[in-house]
Protein backbone atom coordinates (compact mmCIF):
# COMPACT_ATOMS: atom_id res chain seq x y z
CA UNK A 1 0.00 0.00 0.00
CA UNK A 2 1.13 3.53 -0.75
CA UNK A 3 1.93 5.88 2.11
CA UNK A 4 3.84 9.03 2.99
CA UNK A 5 5.35 10.08 6.27
CA UNK A 6 6.09 13.57 7.51
CA UNK A 7 8.35 13.03 10.51
CA UNK A 8 8.11 16.56 11.91
CA UNK A 9 4.95 17.98 13.44
CA UNK A 10 6.43 21.47 13.36
CA UNK A 11 9.35 23.27 11.73
CA UNK A 12 10.54 26.63 13.01
CA UNK A 13 12.62 28.89 10.80
CA UNK A 14 13.82 32.48 10.97
CA UNK A 15 12.77 34.72 8.11
CA UNK A 16 15.40 34.79 5.38
CA UNK A 17 16.82 31.39 6.31
CA UNK A 18 16.41 28.32 4.11
CA UNK A 19 13.64 25.91 5.04
CA UNK A 20 13.13 22.20 4.57
CA UNK A 21 9.97 20.23 5.26
CA UNK A 22 10.60 16.51 5.15
CA UNK A 23 8.60 13.76 3.49
CA UNK A 24 9.37 10.11 2.89
CA UNK A 25 7.28 7.74 0.84
CA UNK A 26 6.54 4.06 0.51
CA UNK A 27 5.13 2.82 -2.79
CA UNK A 28 5.09 -0.20 -5.00
CA UNK A 29 6.11 0.98 -8.43
CA UNK A 30 6.80 4.53 -9.55
CA UNK A 31 5.84 7.24 -7.09
CA UNK A 32 3.64 10.19 -8.01
CA UNK A 33 4.25 12.78 -5.31
CA UNK A 34 2.65 16.10 -4.44
CA UNK A 35 3.01 18.98 -2.01
CA UNK A 36 0.12 21.15 -0.85
CA UNK A 37 -0.10 24.10 1.52
CA UNK A 38 -3.04 24.95 3.76
CA UNK A 39 -3.39 28.40 5.27
CA UNK A 40 -5.65 28.78 8.34
CA UNK A 41 -9.32 28.25 7.54
CA UNK A 42 -8.55 27.76 3.86
CA UNK A 43 -8.51 24.89 1.41
CA UNK A 44 -5.43 23.12 0.13
CA UNK A 45 -3.34 24.84 -2.50
CA UNK A 46 -1.19 22.85 -4.89
CA UNK A 47 2.52 23.67 -4.76
CA UNK A 48 4.26 21.13 -6.96
CA UNK A 49 4.36 17.52 -8.12
CA UNK A 50 6.85 14.87 -9.15
CA UNK A 51 5.76 12.47 -11.84
CA UNK A 52 8.97 11.65 -13.68
CA UNK A 53 12.05 13.41 -14.99
CA UNK A 54 14.27 15.86 -13.13
CA UNK A 55 14.76 15.14 -9.48
CA UNK A 56 14.50 18.83 -8.60
CA UNK A 57 10.96 20.07 -9.09
CA UNK A 58 10.15 23.76 -9.01
CA UNK A 59 6.75 24.94 -7.88
CA UNK A 60 4.69 27.91 -6.76
CA UNK A 61 5.78 30.72 -4.43
CA UNK A 62 9.49 29.90 -4.79
CA UNK A 63 9.19 26.39 -3.40
CA UNK A 64 10.99 23.40 -4.81
CA UNK A 65 11.26 19.75 -3.88
CA UNK A 66 13.99 17.21 -4.32
CA UNK A 67 13.07 13.66 -5.26
CA UNK A 68 15.55 11.10 -3.95
CA UNK A 69 14.81 7.56 -5.00
CA UNK A 70 17.52 5.89 -2.92
CA UNK A 71 16.30 7.59 0.26
CA UNK A 72 12.61 7.42 -0.78
CA UNK A 73 12.29 11.08 0.09
CA UNK A 74 10.61 14.13 -1.41
CA UNK A 75 11.61 17.05 0.81
CA UNK A 76 10.13 20.51 0.25
CA UNK A 77 12.60 23.39 0.23
CA UNK A 78 12.83 27.12 -0.12
CA UNK A 79 16.08 29.11 -0.16
CA UNK A 80 14.75 32.06 1.85
CA UNK A 81 11.69 31.76 4.09
CA UNK A 82 9.04 34.47 4.42
CA UNK A 83 6.77 35.07 7.39
CA UNK A 84 3.86 34.59 4.97
CA UNK A 85 5.06 31.01 4.33
CA UNK A 86 3.80 30.08 7.80
CA UNK A 87 1.13 27.43 7.18
CA UNK A 88 0.42 23.71 7.27
CA UNK A 89 2.19 21.67 4.58
CA UNK A 90 1.06 18.30 3.31
CA UNK A 91 2.96 15.75 1.31
CA UNK A 92 0.85 13.29 -0.68
CA UNK A 93 1.27 10.25 -2.90
CA UNK A 94 -1.08 9.10 -5.60
CA UNK A 95 -2.85 5.83 -4.73
CA UNK A 96 -2.16 3.69 -7.76
CA UNK A 97 -4.08 0.77 -6.30
CA UNK A 98 -7.38 2.28 -7.39
CA UNK A 99 -8.53 3.29 -10.82
CA UNK A 100 -9.03 6.95 -10.00
CA UNK A 101 -5.78 7.71 -8.28
CA UNK A 102 -6.86 9.69 -5.27
CA UNK A 103 -4.15 11.17 -3.06
CA UNK A 104 -2.98 9.72 0.24
CA UNK A 105 -1.77 12.48 2.55
CA UNK A 106 0.82 12.69 5.28
CA UNK A 107 -0.22 14.06 8.65
CA UNK A 108 1.03 17.55 7.82
CA UNK A 109 3.87 19.72 9.09
CA UNK A 110 3.25 23.11 10.58
CA UNK A 111 5.79 25.63 9.34
CA UNK A 112 6.37 28.67 11.52
CA UNK A 113 8.54 31.47 10.14
CA UNK A 114 9.52 34.13 12.67
CA UNK A 115 10.61 37.67 11.76
Amino acid sequence: AQSVAQPEDQVNVAEGNPLTVKCTYSVSGNPYLFWYVQYPNRGLQFLLKYITGDNLVKGSYGFEAEFNKSQTSFHLKKPSALVSDSALYFCAVRDMGGSQGNLIFGKGTKLSVKP
Binding site: Y32, F34, Y36, Q38, R42, G43, L44, Q45, F46, K49, I51, L88, F90, R94, D95, M96, G98, S99, Q100, G101, N102, L103, I104, F105, K107, G108
Partner: protein, 113 residues
Amino acid sequence: DTAVSQTPKYLVTQMGNDKSIKCEQNLGHDTMYWYKQDSKKFLKIMFSYNNKELIINETVPNRFSPKSPDKAHLNLHINSLELGDSAVYFCASSQTGTSGVPFFGPGTRLTVL
Protein backbone atom coordinates in the same frame (compact mmCIF):
# COMPACT_ATOMS: atom_id res chain seq x y z
CA ASP B 1 -13.11 32.29 -11.76
CA THR B 2 -12.17 28.73 -12.55
CA ALA B 3 -12.31 26.80 -9.34
CA VAL B 4 -13.85 24.21 -7.12
CA SER B 5 -16.62 25.71 -5.01
CA GLN B 6 -18.53 24.33 -2.05
CA THR B 7 -21.64 25.43 -0.22
CA PRO B 8 -22.21 26.06 2.56
CA LYS B 9 -18.91 27.16 4.09
CA TYR B 10 -20.19 26.51 7.61
CA LEU B 11 -22.87 24.07 8.69
CA VAL B 12 -24.08 23.76 12.28
CA THR B 13 -26.75 21.18 12.99
CA GLN B 14 -28.21 18.85 15.59
CA MET B 15 -27.51 15.18 15.98
CA GLY B 16 -29.84 13.01 13.98
CA ASN B 17 -30.46 15.55 11.23
CA ASP B 18 -29.83 14.98 7.53
CA LYS B 19 -27.72 17.50 5.62
CA SER B 20 -26.12 18.03 2.24
CA ILE B 21 -23.00 19.78 1.04
CA LYS B 22 -22.79 20.89 -2.56
CA CYS B 23 -19.69 20.90 -4.73
CA GLU B 24 -19.19 22.27 -8.21
CA GLN B 25 -16.12 22.48 -10.42
CA ASN B 26 -15.75 24.43 -13.63
CA LEU B 27 -12.30 23.12 -14.50
CA GLY B 28 -13.59 20.55 -16.96
CA HIS B 29 -12.24 17.71 -14.82
CA ASP B 30 -13.69 14.23 -15.07
CA THR B 31 -13.00 12.95 -11.55
CA MET B 32 -14.23 14.38 -8.28
CA TYR B 33 -13.46 13.52 -4.66
CA TRP B 34 -14.61 14.09 -1.13
CA TYR B 35 -12.03 14.26 1.66
CA LYS B 36 -12.56 14.59 5.41
CA GLN B 37 -10.17 16.58 7.59
CA ASP B 38 -10.52 15.81 11.27
CA SER B 39 -9.66 17.95 14.27
CA LYS B 40 -6.02 16.82 14.10
CA LYS B 41 -5.85 17.96 10.47
CA PHE B 42 -5.61 14.40 9.11
CA LEU B 43 -6.96 14.20 5.57
CA LYS B 44 -8.67 11.02 4.41
CA ILE B 45 -10.33 10.16 1.17
CA MET B 46 -14.02 9.37 1.46
CA PHE B 47 -15.12 8.95 -2.15
CA SER B 48 -13.75 9.29 -5.62
CA TYR B 49 -16.03 9.37 -8.61
CA ASN B 50 -16.05 9.79 -12.33
CA ASN B 51 -18.81 9.13 -14.78
CA LYS B 52 -17.91 5.48 -14.85
CA GLU B 53 -17.18 4.48 -11.34
CA LEU B 54 -17.77 5.35 -7.71
CA ILE B 55 -15.10 4.23 -5.29
CA ILE B 56 -15.99 4.32 -1.64
CA ASN B 57 -13.46 4.20 1.17
CA GLU B 58 -14.57 1.17 3.14
CA THR B 59 -14.25 3.03 6.43
CA VAL B 60 -16.92 5.57 5.49
CA PRO B 61 -20.30 4.85 7.14
CA ASN B 62 -23.15 4.24 4.74
CA ARG B 63 -24.88 7.29 6.23
CA PHE B 64 -22.67 9.21 3.81
CA SER B 65 -23.61 9.11 0.16
CA PRO B 66 -22.27 11.06 -2.82
CA LYS B 67 -24.60 12.09 -5.59
CA SER B 68 -23.49 13.40 -8.95
CA PRO B 69 -26.16 15.01 -11.11
CA ASP B 70 -23.56 15.71 -13.80
CA LYS B 71 -19.81 15.76 -14.41
CA ALA B 72 -19.36 19.15 -12.78
CA HIS B 73 -21.11 18.37 -9.49
CA LEU B 74 -20.57 15.92 -6.67
CA ASN B 75 -22.78 16.55 -3.66
CA LEU B 76 -22.39 14.88 -0.29
CA HIS B 77 -25.47 13.74 1.63
CA ILE B 78 -25.21 12.76 5.26
CA ASN B 79 -28.04 11.04 7.11
CA SER B 80 -28.55 10.78 10.87
CA LEU B 81 -25.65 13.03 11.76
CA GLU B 82 -23.49 12.06 14.73
CA LEU B 83 -21.14 14.07 16.92
CA GLY B 84 -18.16 12.31 15.34
CA ASP B 85 -19.10 13.64 11.92
CA SER B 86 -17.91 17.09 12.97
CA ALA B 87 -15.00 17.91 10.67
CA VAL B 88 -14.04 19.93 7.62
CA TYR B 89 -15.11 18.35 4.37
CA PHE B 90 -13.20 19.14 1.18
CA CYS B 91 -14.32 18.56 -2.34
CA ALA B 92 -11.66 18.21 -5.04
CA SER B 93 -11.46 17.49 -8.73
CA SER B 94 -8.84 16.40 -11.24
CA GLN B 95 -8.35 14.92 -14.64
CA THR B 96 -8.17 11.14 -14.45
CA GLY B 97 -4.62 9.92 -14.86
CA THR B 98 -1.37 9.78 -12.99
CA SER B 99 -0.38 13.36 -13.69
CA GLY B 100 -3.75 14.96 -12.99
CA VAL B 101 -3.48 17.43 -10.12
CA PRO B 102 -6.40 17.48 -7.67
CA PHE B 103 -7.64 21.00 -6.99
CA PHE B 104 -9.48 21.54 -3.73
CA GLY B 105 -12.47 23.56 -2.74
CA PRO B 106 -12.42 25.90 0.27
CA GLY B 107 -13.97 23.34 2.60
CA THR B 108 -17.18 23.06 4.61
CA ARG B 109 -16.85 23.10 8.38
CA LEU B 110 -19.54 20.82 9.78
CA THR B 111 -20.36 21.06 13.47
CA VAL B 112 -22.79 18.55 14.95
CA LEU B 113 -24.25 19.54 18.33
